[in-house]
Structures are given as C-alpha cells and as structure tokens.
C-alpha cells in the first residue's frame, strides 16, 4: 500500500495518455453494461420463471386453443396443486405500435398462481366485483397515464364482442407492481367469464369454452418432469393433445426463437474487449519502455523482481479498475430509467450479477494488459537498463 503514491504518480506522468486510455476503458464498460441489459431484456425471463410452475400448451402449436374443461382434469392429476389458464387477446390500444400483452384470466386463481404481481387487496376485491374490470401493470399504466376508474377502449385483432364490435372497453380497477426487479409490469389482465360470454353471444362458437394455454402450480418442484409427463399422458389421443414443460424451459425456447442473442452479444463484447486490450496494453508497454532507466535504478537499490512485477501489474489494474468502475457506474445510471423502446423490451435492466461479472473483467483486463510489460520489466538487466538512462 505504501507504494500507491509511486504507482499513482507513474500514471500521472503522461496525463493525456492516461486519460485517453482511461476514457476508452470507460466506453468499453458502458457498452458492456448496455449489452448485458439488452441480453437481460431478451433472455432474462428464464431466471424469473417459477420453478414450481409448468406451462401446458397444444402439442401442435401454441396458436391452437385448448378446452377450458381440461382445468378440472388437470386439478385431479397427482402432484398438481392447481391449474389456471390464459388466452392471447391480441388487442391494440390506439396504435399497433403501443404494444403490450392482454389476456383474459380467472382472477382468484391467477393472483394465487402469480404472486409476483402485487395488487392491493382492496383492488383485487374490486376486480372480483366488476365484470368488465381489468388490472394493468405499473409500466403500461404510467406510459398511457391510466388511473383507477378509467375506461380503456382496446381493439382486438381476434375477438369480437357480443354485438360484433371489436372494440372492448375495460374498467381499470387495479394497478399491479412487480415483486422482483425484472417482473414484467406491461400486461393487462381482464376477466375470463366476461370474455367467454361475449364470445358466446357474438357467435364465435368455434372458440367458446376454449383457452390459450395453462399454467400448473405443482406441489413439489423436484417432481416437475414426472408431473409434466402425467399431464401429457392424461390428454393423449384426445382431439387436443398437450405439451407440458417447466416455465423456465418454455421461456428459454421462446427467447431462442428471437435468435441467438447470447452469441451475438458475446461476439460484440469480444470485439470490444479485444480492442481495449490492445489499446491499454500498448499504453502500458510504452510507459514501461520510457521508464526503463528508473526501473533499473529501483532494481539496483534492491527492489526484487516480484516487487517490480507487482508495480507494473498494480498500475495496469488501477487503470482498468478505475475505468471499469466509472464505466459500469455510468451504464447503471443510463439503464436505470428502464426500457428505452417503450414496450418492446419490458425486462430491460442491468442485472447485479453482470455488474460483478464486469468488475471481474476489469481486474482480468488489468492483469492481461500488464502481463507483457511486467515480464519485460522483470527481465531487465540492471546494467543494461542503467546504460540506457
């Protein structure tokens, strides 16, 4: 520690060079933070998936509906705690660009199934009492300035109402928050009984009593695979065979449909850090070359090779850790306002886990860039070094 001033003054020797190098490191870590957040937005749902939940969908395709009567049969399957369903509504609020998900659900079961949606008890009671009531996530409510009591018209691309009209009006009775940082608070949920009756009255009888997909709460997460098998066996050879998998696997498959995000992000970050490695490594090498004489003096007055090596490594690490801290901090600030696309990436945030990964990378980068200059400094022979003064 007592050598810190020496290391610091070495960095200060070429202020311009040090600050330019520092700035490029800062930029690299801002990029790291932004890309981590984008990756989180696209594939991070997997970590939020409940280990005790299974998703059941039609075996051929998720667009095929399943009978509502399956719920009672699922509830009787050993290992199943309870099941509930959701259906894709495909609604548009004012403009197709204002995308957010809407689903008809059965309120009591739904709120019990997804405790990550936090709704005050008074509001959930109001929902149970209002047939046309809907609850909406904080994100979407804030985006469109909706308040409790508002009547919101939503035009469905799929479902017609009793009178054949496709514009549905919902009464906002509740606004829910997310229990975890990444909980998606963009969707709107409304009541299935209201929805199905309208389908009946509008003559969409082909879909009457049919729902999109089921979520099953299981009693023991360790039994997930066995229960999933039992569910699929229950509906085998029926007109609607099912495919059941843990929520995490379902989300992962969905994410990989978007593309291989992890690979693309890794490739870009690889290019960024390789570049920074070169720039910083070059700065360090130049610094050591210029100080050959001084290092020789240090060696001559009795500093060991190990000490010289740690001087150089400490200097490069100080540079990268400083740059890393500033860069990660700025990335944190930049991403703290949430989804920049308003709706396309609801899970956009900089995960704490990646913050630590970034901190680790900054140290590794320091060691890597300091390695060759340190080696060079260690191999210096005192006589040669002093002659070059």
């Amino acid at each position: 520690m007592k050598f810190l001033p020496l290391i610091w003054s070495n960095l200060k020797r070429k202020k311009l060079r040090t600050s330019l190098t520092l700035l490029s490191i800062v930029v690299a870590f801002i990029l790291f933070g932004l890309l981590s957040s984008i990756q989180q937005a696209l594939v991070g749902g997997v970590q939020l998936a409940g280990a005790d939940r299974l998703i059941v969908r039609d075996k051929v395709s998720i667009i095929n509906l399943l009978p509502e009567s399956y719920k009672a049969r699922m509830n009787r399957i050993p290992g199943v705690d309870f099941a509930t369903h959701q259906t894709w509504f495909g609604g548009i609020y004012q403009d197709p660009k204002n995308f957010f998900m809407q689903c008809p659900v059965v309120p009591e079961e739904f709120l019990k199934m997804f405790p990550e949606y936090l709704l005050p008890p008074a509001q959930s009671n109001a929902w149970l009492q209002t047939r046309t009531g809907a609850i909406v996530g904080r994100n979407t409510a804030a985006r469109f300035h909706w308040k409790i009591g508002d009547k919101i018209p939503i035009q469905s691309t799929i479902w017609a109402q009793a009178d054949g009209n496709r514009t549905w009006a919902f009464d906002i009775v509740g606004i829910f928050d997310g229990a975890k940082k990444g909980t998606d608070t963009t969707p709107l949920f409304f009541r299935y009984d209201y929805f199905d009756e309208a389908r009946h009255e509008s003559g969409q009888t082909w879909a009457e009593g049919k729902v999109g997909w089921y979520t099953i709460h299981i009693k023991d997460p360790a039994q997930a695979a066995a229960v999933a098998k039992r569910v699929d066996a229950e509906f085998e050879n029926s007109s609607s065979e099912t495919k059941t998998e843990p929520e995490g696997a379902f989300v992962q498959a969905w994410a990989s449909q978007i593309g291989n995000i992890v690979l693309i992000v890794a490739a870009i970050l690889g290019a960024v850090f390789f570049t920074i490695l070169l720039v910083t490594g070059n700065t360090m090498a130049q610094g050591v070359r210029e100080r050959t004489g001084e290092l020789g003096v240090l060696k001559a007055i009795g500093f060991t090779n190990a000490q010289i090596v740690s001087f150089v490594l400490a200097e490069s690490c100080l540079l990268t850790v400083l740059g890393g801290a500033v860069g990660l901090g700025l990335a944190w600030l930049l991403t703290s306002r949430g989804d920049p696309t308003h709706g396309l990436l609801p899970l956009f945030f900089f995960p704490t886990r990646d913050l630590w990964v970034g901190a680790g990378i900054s140290v590794a980068l320091g060691l890597a860039t300091g390695f060759f200059p340190a080696l060079q400094a260690m191999r210096l022979r005192v006589a040669d070094a002093l002659r070059r003064m």
């Binding site: 930029v27 690299a28 998720i62 570049t275 070169l278």
Partner: protein
C-alpha cells in the same frame, strides 16, 4: 513564399517520413488499425442483420401484388375469410387473369412446432395452405429439389430457408401435424423472400386437418398492373358484403419488417458510436505518441523552412491512412464472417419464424470506411495541431 507545388512536395516528404518510421511504432500503429477494424466490423456486422432482413421482406412483395385480410386484422394469423368472400375477391376488378382463371389464391396460415437446428428448442414454423394459383401469383417461386406436392394429397413442400433452419425437413422425411404425418415432397426457393421460411401444402388438405370447414385467412392476388391497386381496393372496401382490409404486398412486408429493422439499426448505431468513441481515444493516443517521438524531427523540418500547414496535413494523412487500413480490414472481416450468414428470428406480427441471410452490401462497406476515415481524421487533428505549434527552438534543444 513557397508555391503550391512546393507545399505538396513538403507534405509528400513529411508523410513519407512518417510512414517509413511506422515500423518503429508498430505496436501503437497496430493497436489503432485493429481498434478501428473492430469498430467497422461491428458496425457493418450489426447493420447487415437489418439489411438482410429488409432485403428478405423487400423481395417478398411485388408492387403489382395485393393481400386481402379480414377488416381489423394486422396479420394473416388473426384474419379469417369465408369461401364466399374469397370468390368475390377473386372476381374483383383489377385482378389479373390467365387461361386458368383469376390470379388469386385463397390461403390458410397456421404455425406448427418444429425444433430449431441450432438449439433443438421448439420454434413456431409457418405452415401455409395454398390454392393452385399461388404459384402464378408469386414471382420467382421455384421447386429446386424433389417435386411439388400433389393437389389433394397429404404432402408438403418446404421453403429453402426453413429446410436450413429447422430439423427434419429434408425431401423424403415426414413432418408431424397433430396426429397426421405428411411427407416432404420437395424444397422450393423464392428468391430469398419470406415464403422461403414457410412450409406449403394444399389449402384443402390443411382445412381438413384443422377442421376449418371452407374458410381461409387471406387472399393473395396479382393485379393487372401496380396502378390497378386503387380501383381493386375501392371495389372491395365499398362492397357491403365484405369487411376486408386490402394492402399492397410491398407495404404489408415493409410493415412487418419495420419493428425489427428499426430495433436492430438503432442498437447497431448506438453500439458502433460508443465503440467509435473508444477508437478515437485510441487513435489520439497513437498520434500523440507519434508526434512526441518525432518532436526533434519535426522541429528540424520546421527550421529548414517546412510550413506548419504541411506538417498538419501530413500528420492527418498518416492518421487517415492508418484508419483506412483499419476500415478495409474490418469491412473485409465483416464480409467474410457475416455475408450470407443464415439465421431465423421471430416475426412479431404473427409470432412465427422468419428465416433470412445477413447481407453485407457495398453501401454498408462504404459506410464502414467513412466511419473509419472520420475516426482517423478526428484522432489525427489535435496531435497534428500540437505538432505544428511546437516552439522550434526549444524542440531542437531536445537534441
């Protein structure tokens, strides 16, 4: 005073000096070149995703093609039309005809789960039921391997892109649709368009398999000319028997690609801009150290009568040349790594997969080189000015 010829020869000789001394600063020079190459490779690479996607969508829609959907629907997935509707549409004014009748194909569009080759996870692959006119409505559709499915028979043909991206779609293999197994009769190409992501079969076969009765989801028509669209649209939308939405094929596909291309382009520019900022710092470093190591040399030249302007320009040239080398290197790398890289993604309008190839176009390469040049000029400017302002007397004393 020195004439322009003299000025140019001054620039020439200083630049030559600078370039000849590059090997002594090879570490710093290489860091600059590779740094800029990295920026250009990422910029071109990310934008090639958007270019490829836009291209796939652009070749899908010809200007004389139109799509008719149910009113209020934004994609085929949620649309629905009865047999009576599709007849009226086929007989509407403006629809082209040939010996076999109107060029209008009523179609069904569903998705089925098939495993992605790269990850093995389920993906929503589009399955389209078509009528015989479909092959004449679309330009450029060719069966490249095997043969067309037989009309009325449980068989499919598979788009080239789908066959590349999803497992089990070779000619002769069978796909499972519910409880049915349908053999793959052939592979078709559509000039790289969206249809190549799809599996096709006879609409009647698909109606039966999905219990759809005699209903469809869309009608694809070829018009007599691009100009006939307005009359065609008016005739259908003013018809009280119909409630339909009529769109030009080119507009339909442009709209479908808008979300993804905008997202990818914005992200691409943001990432490349930040990287470019980092590269400018790197280039500044290199050029400052170049100036520092040549302090005496520059002072000597100035003492001999070389102009400050010539020093500035030649240092800028040196920086520009390094940057251009980086730009060419990065563009070349991006071309080798990304051009025609085949992949698939989600089409957010219908939640189905769409396959496409990345495209590194000449325009993208040019843009990459321009970025490189800008980085080089900015990175060279301040060091060059410092060099020109060096007090000659004290710089010479460093000798």
């Amino acid at each position: 005073m020195a004439g322009p010829t003299n000025w140019f020869s001054q620039i020439g000789s200083i630049t030559k000096f600078g370039l000849l001394s590059l090997p002594q600063r090879r570490g710093a020079a290489a860091a600059t070149v590779i740094g800029i190459a990295g920026v250009v490779a990422v910029l071109v690479g990310v934008l090639s995703i958007a270019a490829g996607f836009r291209q796939a969508m652009a070749v899908s829609g010809s200007p004389d093609g139109a799509i008719v959907l149910r009113g209020g629907s934004d994609s085929e997935m949620v649309s629905g039309l009865g047999r009576d509707d599709t007849r009226i549409i086929a007989d509407a004014p403006g629809v082209a005809r040939d010996g076999q009748g109107p060029l209008a194909s009523a179609e069904l569009f569903v998705i089925i789960d098939l495993p992605k080759r790269t990850t093995g996870t389920d993906a929503n692959v589009p399955l389209r039921g078509v009528e015989p006119a479909a092959l004449r409505v679309r330009d450029n559709l060719k069966v490249t391997q095997g043969r067309l499915f037989e009309w009325g028979k449980d068989e499919v043909i598979v788009g080239r892109g789908a066959a590349l991206e999803f497992a089990g779609l070779e000619v002769g293999s069978k796909i499972k649709v519910g409880r049915y197994e349908w053999p793959v009769a052939g592979i078709f190409s559509a000039n790289g368009g969206a249809a190549e992501s799809e599996i096709w079969t006879d609409a009647k076969v698909l109606q039966d398999a999905y219990h759809r009765g005699d209903s469809f989801q869309s009608v694809y028509v070829k018009l007599v000319s691009p100009g006939a669209f307005a009359a065609f649209k008016d005739a259908l939308t003013s018809n009280p028997q119909l409630n339909v939405k009529v769109v030009r094929q080119s507009d339909y596909y442009a709209e479908q690609s808008e979300t993804i291309t905008r997202l990818v382009t914005t992200l691409g520019f943001l990432i490349a801009f930040l990287m470019a900022l980092g590269a400018v710092f790197g280039a500044l470093n290199t050029m400052y150290s170049a100036v520092a190591s040549r302090t005496r040399e520059i002072a000597t030249l100035r003492a001999l009568g070389f102009g400050a302007g010539a020093v500035v320009v030649s240092l800028l040239l040196e920086s520009l040349l390094l940057a251009l080398a980086g730009g060419v290197l990065g563009g070349g790398l991006a071309y080798l790594a990304f051009n025609n890289f085949h992949t698939s993604t989600m089409n957010w309008q219908s939640f189905s997969q769409i396959t496409f190839a990345f495209r590194v176009t000449p325009a993208l390469l040019l843009r990459g080189i321009l970025w490189a040049a800008a980085i080089g000029l900015i990175g060279g400017l301040f060091p060059a000015i410092r060099a020109a302002r060096l007090p000659i007397a004290s710089a010479l004393r460093e000798l």
